[in-house]
Symmetry: C2
Subunit: 203 residues, 2 copies
DNA sequence: ACCTGAACACCGTTCAAGT
DNA sequence: ACCTGAACACCGTTCAAGT
């Protein structure tokens, strides 16, 4: 009595890889582990992801990236949309903390999965009076700020070190604060950055 | 006739690891490769880096981090010093592009190597009238912004993809602009962020 | 004290072989 | 057409053995 097995597919391989990453981290995401997740041998994966592990990880990045981008409801107001984008990005990445470093390292895949959003942010900024050049700059600045912030957050948590283990009082203070959650710090930084961009408009 | 070999030491192991990372990337930095760089067998490294590869990589992060921090001449003016810090950090990381992802993933090591600088930034901000809470936030925001920006830069370059290979005109535009160098984008973002922080002071 | 050979339990990937 | 067994050239790490 064998349970019928759904046939493998690129989609199933990528989804299994994401599940393994969430559970065991990037380190734990070996081809053999992903195959195990699917009840299959490692070598079978190559039929659906011919480019091997690299293509599989690209697929995971694209999956998460398109997932959050598609749910965004932009308004056409640059400041509101930048905030929406940044907050939703952080929220999506926070659900997959082990993936943040991978996304940060593969900007071309991330961009490719977000052209619609990027285009509408450009348009909103130009409508508001920004030059095309500054719109290009601003989008890169905000998206890197968001990834950098979230990567720092995820790494500080996973870096394991409990705040009390530091010998420096200053480090205890900083890491105790980080452990308390960083929503307020994120909002502080995001609003400061958006204020700074807005100031460039009046200038 | 044997050439006299300098004895191994923790310092020499860490320096060799940095050299391998610069040449061959994080992927290429295996214990065996670092040992080869030193003309030694892999197992010898463990006598000087008992914690294994992880401790070795921590050492590399600390080496680069203390290197740039120690050269900084702070002024006591928060805005000038934040700018100094951010620009010098980016400059240091840009000299070791393969290391940026590692530094981003090990914030506790990076912080530990920078307590003096972090403390003087806190002081400068409090002197200027920021609350301790906002000073804590601002330092984290600026340092993550800098790492995030530089990681994005390094990754976009190394991501290999030449701009012309994209099918989307928008992506060609973005990646052509990135390939042109991003000094102006960095300055644009940094000044915007500092402006935004300064605005929090008057409020 | 410092270095190493051999071994263990893993990797990603290829390729010929099975069904 | 789709999956796999065996194999290759690598990993990090341990540990007993060499000098």
């Amino acid at each position: 009595m064998t349970t019928a097995r759904e046939p493998l597919s690129r989609e199933r391989v990528v989804e299994a890889a994401l599940a393994v990453i969430d559970r065991a981290g990037i380190q734990g995401c070996s081809m053999r582990a992903v195959a195990g997740e699917l009840g299959v041998e490692a070598m079978s994966l190559y039929h659906h992801v011919p480019g091997g592990k690299d293509e599989m990880l690209d697929g995971v990045v694209a999956l998460v990236q398109t997932g959050f981008v598609d749910e965004l409801d932009t308004t056409g107001d640059w400041r509101i949309d930048m905030g929406l984008f940044s907050r939703a990005y952080r929220a999506a990445l926070t659900q997959h903390p082990n993936l943040v470093a991978l996304i940060a390292a593969r900007p071309s895949v991330a961009y490719r999965s977000s052209t619609g959003l990027v285009g509408s942010l450009f348009d909103a900024m130009e409508d508001a009076g920004f030059s095309r050049e500054d719109a290009l700059r601003a989008v890169r600045v905000v998206s890197r700020w968001t990834i950098g912030f979230t990567l720092g957050e995820a790494s500080a948590v996973e870096d394991g070190e409990s705040a009390e283990e530091f010998d420096e009082p200053l480090l205890v203070e900083v890491f105790t604060d980080i452990a308390r959650g960083e929503d307020d710090v994120f909002e502080f930084g995001l609003e400061a950055l958006l204020d700074g961009l807005e100031a460039r408009l009046s200038a």
